[in-house]
Symmetry: C2
Subunit: 359 residues, 2 copies
Amino acid sequence: MNINKLKQILRQKNIQLALLFNINNDYDKNMYYFSEYKGLGCLVVPGKKQAFLIVPEMEYERAKKTSKIKIYKWKKGKRLFETLNEILKKNKIKPEIIGISYENFTLSANKSLKKHIKKIKTKDISNDFLELRKIKTRNEINIMKKSCRIADNILKKCLNSFHKFKTEKDVEIFLHSETIKQGCELAFPTIVASGSSGSMAHYEPGNINLKKGFCVIDFGVKYQGYHSDITRTIYIGAPSKEEKETYNLLLNVQENIIKNIRVNKKCMSSYEETLSLLGKYSDKFTHGLGHGIGLQIHELPNLTAKSENIFKNNMIFTVEPGVYFENKYGIRIEDDILIKDKKIEILTKTKKKLIVIKR
Amino acid sequence: MNINKLKQILRQKNIQLALLFNINNDYDKNMYYFSEYKGLGCLVVPGKKQAFLIVPEMEYERAKKTSKIKIYKWKKGKRLFETLNEILKKNKIKPEIIGISYENFTLSANKSLKKHIKKIKTKDISNDFLELRKIKTRNEINIMKKSCRIADNILKKCLNSFHKFKTEKDVEIFLHSETIKQGCELAFPTIVASGSSGSMAHYEPGNINLKKGFCVIDFGVKYQGYHSDITRTIYIGAPSKEEKETYNLLLNVQENIIKNIRVNKKCMSSYEETLSLLGKYSDKFTHGLGHGIGLQIHELPNLTAKSENIFKNNMIFTVEPGVYFENKYGIRIEDDILIKDKKIEILTKTKKKLIVIKR
């Protein structure tokens, strides 16, 4: 995807080729983005020639099935960058500057690169990758929609079965098991924070009985590499009038913020509007309003106080205002939003009216 | 654990301090090994002074609970290595050479380190970390035993319920769900390879009906960060006499190899013995005999043809011979082995007599 846009950037920056590299257990998201290949090896994108992958012999069949990019075999007994050097020579590509993501490239890899490919300089292009991935392709949008639908269905099933759960851990295990059954992975460690635990935005579910009061459930799945991220806050027991009012205020804020998102508006403005709409509760809102989602759970755009991002068509991001009352409770409501043809589409569809579980 | 041994190595190598660093989603295993802290931040081990952690303010409480090491707060608005520099100055530590793991340190981190701490050189000490982690502490051995016990229990339950499963994926989902219920994670993607799929050593379970014939199940859990790794091969349908003989031959080889392991013996020798004991099937054995396990699924020692490792007390490793008949079937039997007081202890205890599932 977008490999021609990357080539254009390379030519503009006078970088002869981009090198993306995967040697860890966890696959390189940028390499997957451009090649749809997840295994060991590297992806080479010359500014002026055809891109190619180098993969170990035992991965060759799998790579051919998943990627449309030209593939070379990484020969046994050779170092990866030794093979790369041979291929570059054969194709008469003589790079002076190689663009890599400094965020993902280790000192070991760098040492090996400099050893096998002489007289090159490297340049950090991690930001260019993030900027490209900020705008989703049609295919990415379809996968993200499916990821959100799966998360919605699992969450719905969880809320319908909620009376069965005794502990926070029970809820977490249910969500995780259902995720696996759908052939997905968790997008991030699930948050199930009942009662006073809800006042910590990043609480880990404990092996403790669900407390009465608000219960924050923050959950998402990873489907075909793409993350969904949804939060609903329910109530266990009988909410007081004040609690109901606080919930409805937050829900109102969340819905209005979403409604007011426009193409070419500053992301920062939505954050500021949230503070203003929360009024007397604005100091209880202690984190960012949202973040882009895609191959990573946190991508661009940032919906924060200092964000320089601007809303554009084909962006997908979360809107998740919350209020946290120390040692009392927390409420957060989060949806995944797509801007498409200048219109707002809410991809997560689980109902937001306060659900009350009688205990 | 072993932090004094690390200090000793640093002094011997004239390295003033070791820097371990965690900024990724996946935690740094070495940092966890020495500090039992998994969150963001860094661990600093000076050769001649007390070690300390630097963690973000929001992680301070969690770090204090999990680690016995002195903790400094990473102040908001400052870069991590800026804070490190201030602490080093305050404690009058003037490093000239800093030891880091080149395998885990990114170019971004290196750039930031060199910017904030002037006039230092870095040296790769990734091998020293691996060498230290090769010999397990008493505490690690206890955790590993528990990890193996959990894997055993789940696998037993799976084998007892095997008649219920229709597809390879069903088996995988069962093992994964049970792992979650035990509060653990999978140690690695489970392999369920039935019939001819078993001839690929790294097969991914498919959404296809379990085929008749041998079925390789390679599974393990991660418990408190420590991996277990067990493989059993069962038979679906009715095995022929020849198939039974091949299974029993492999089982015999595996048991004999384990029996013959001795302290101070070369790991390479066990690999060679395997080839010799397999006789006419030796060319069907296409991978290493085993690998160390611990905080990572593949650690030292290596039980391979070219290994330079030697069996020592308090090592834990797998012994997993296999035979693979292309397009027909595969058989692998794998246990986790501990050497303790010069004696061999098999930590994985699931029975190895061929289980036949009638279909």
